[in-house]
């Protein structure tokens, strides 16, 4: 069974039950077929609320480090309260992306801190499509809108979205090819992006 470590061990600013978060992590790991022999740390930055939702996955040797904003686990109706369904899905998504990295199919991908937003958006669609088919509670329309913001409101973008959503075995090379086609079809000026990144948001 995968060994999970939660950081912090207890929450002080939000009313998340640490033991329940770990249970949900075990459950999500089993559901996505995460390898048993890889240790995982889950860091939750409880200062950062919804809608500042973000996550990051790092693979360091045979260990995986997951990072989340508190908002990624937070009930959208009641601030500072854990939404178990949302948490299970957020954990499942990051574990699936970690599994992609561990598989070698995404070996050439930059680390999450340096991953361009559009490529991350493509990878997130591929992840959510698989999660939905595994029975996780995924808000597909939300994913589509966030993807369109990054990749463009056009027919090419929508066609690529459908392919990514239904894909079962993409590689990093596939993501880069999709990205190139999206860039070619996107007439917008690219605004300077400030993505949700652990490194920048930690700064004071």
């Amino acid at each position: 069974m995968t060994d999970f470590a939660l950081i912090p061990e207890q929450f002080t600013l939000v009313e998340f039950d640490a033991a329940r978060v770990l249970e949900l992590a075990h459950d999500a790991a089993a559901a996505v077929g995460f390898p048993d022999d890889v240790d995982v740390s889950i860091e939750v930055d409880e200062v950062l609320p919804a809608p500042l939702n973000g996550s990051q996955v790092d693979v360091r040797g045979d260990r995986v480090e997951l990072w989340f904003t508190g908002g990624a686990f937070e009930d959208t109706h009641r601030g500072r309260i854990l939404d178990e369904e949302l948490t299970r899905t957020a954990l499942g998504a990051s574990l699936l992306r970690a599994k992609d990295r561990l598989s070698g199919a995404f070996a050439d991908a930059p680390v999450d801190a340096e991953l361009p937003e559009r490529q991350r958006a493509i990878w997130d669609v591929y992840t959510d499509g698989r999660l939905a088919r595994l029975g996780f509670a995924v808000k597909e329309p939300r994913r589509r809108y966030v993807y369109r913001l990054e990749c463009g409101f056009n027919d090419v973008s929508d066609a690529e979205y459908a392919q990514c959503w239904n894909a079962e075995a993409l590689t990093w090379a596939d993501v880069k090819s999709i990205d190139e086609r999206l860039v070619a079809a996107d007439p917008r000026e690219r605004p300077k992006r400030t993505p949700v990144r652990r490194e920048s948001l930690r700064q004071t």
Partner: protein, 271 residues
């Protein structure tokens, strides 16, 4: 049928969850977030989690439109014709039609942006401004303050749609924005007419508007700096009949509201 309906009696189905704006302002995370480098707060496609921020705001617009409909509707019913002339009630009825259309547009925009009805909580402070016992106060609180805020919010969302290349958002916000300009003008017009011979009543109404404007600035939600997600739409406010002095006053009130909220958070943190 009851007159002067309090906010807790507004009809909502099980999808809607109420929240208090004070809960958000007094959230213990606020002070610590302020210490982080989250950059400009203005709602722009380049900001962190811009998609989820926009979805959240769009849901706030949707619930705000419901409450604006309820507020204008109440004004057609709560007063007799000595308090509110029939022509004023006709204007309010016309506004109800606009607000109902805005609710429908907002639901469709929610669908477009991947947001379900009731996905985010609802604060009823907009409707609360429509509970004043004097129709002139309501016109100032709702048509001039609330609808003025709507101009700022819709303009920000329109720009968001424009920059992100979202044709649906940009188009819908532009159309709703045009209606809001009319609603503000309507409020200004009735304020003048109903208080033409009563300068004290006009003064009370304008004071009430200032209170509502400060409240609607939501401790920094609206303003003119990078710390404010929503920016004052000066040009559109001028088109709606606000003078430069009035707009400057709203900007000052917004800055004051932000300073008050920061002081409250700091006091809560040190308590």
């Amino acid at each position: 049928m009851r007159k002067q309906l309090p906010p807790e009696m507004l009809a909502r189905d099980a999808r809607f969850v109420r929240t208090s704006i004070m809960d958000q302002i007094m959230d213990p995370r606020n002070q610590k977030i302020a210490e982080r480098n989250t950059g400009s707060a203005k709602l722009e496609p380049g900001r962190p989690a811009a998609g989820d921020r926009a979805r959240n705001l769009m849901h706030g617009i949707f619930t705000g439109e419901i409450q604006a409909l309820e507020g204008a509707g109440r004004t057609t019913f709560d007063f007799d014709e000595t308090e509110a002339p029939f022509a004023l009630k006709l204007d309010m009825a016309r506004q109800c039609w606009d607000e109902a259309r805005h609710v429908e547009i907002s639901i469709k925009l929610g669908d477009w942006m991947g947001t379900e009805i009731g996905e985010f909580s609802e604060a009823t402070f907009l409707y609360e401004a429509a509970c004043a016992p004097d129709p002139v106060l309501r016109l100032c609180g709702v048509n001039r303050a609330l609808e003025g805020l709507a101009i700022d919010v819709f303009n920000t969302m329109k720009e968001f749609g424009d920059v992100s290349g979202d044709p649906v958002l940009e188009f819908c916000e532009d159309w709703m924005l045009a209606d809001e300009v009319t609603h503000v003008k309507m409020g200004s017009d009735w304020l003048r007419r109903l208080t033409a011979d009563d300068p004290e009543r006009r003064e009370r109404a304008l004071e009430f508007q200032k209170t509502v404007d400060k409240l609607f600035s939501l401790g920094g939600f609206r303003g003119e700096t990078d710390d404010n997600p929503i920016h004052l739409a000066r040009k559109l406010r001028q088109m709606a009949g606000f003078t430069t002095t009035e707009i400057d006053e709203i900007a000052d009130l917004a800055a004051q509201a932000q300073a008050d909220a920061q002081a409250a958070v700091e006091a809560a943190g040190s308590a």
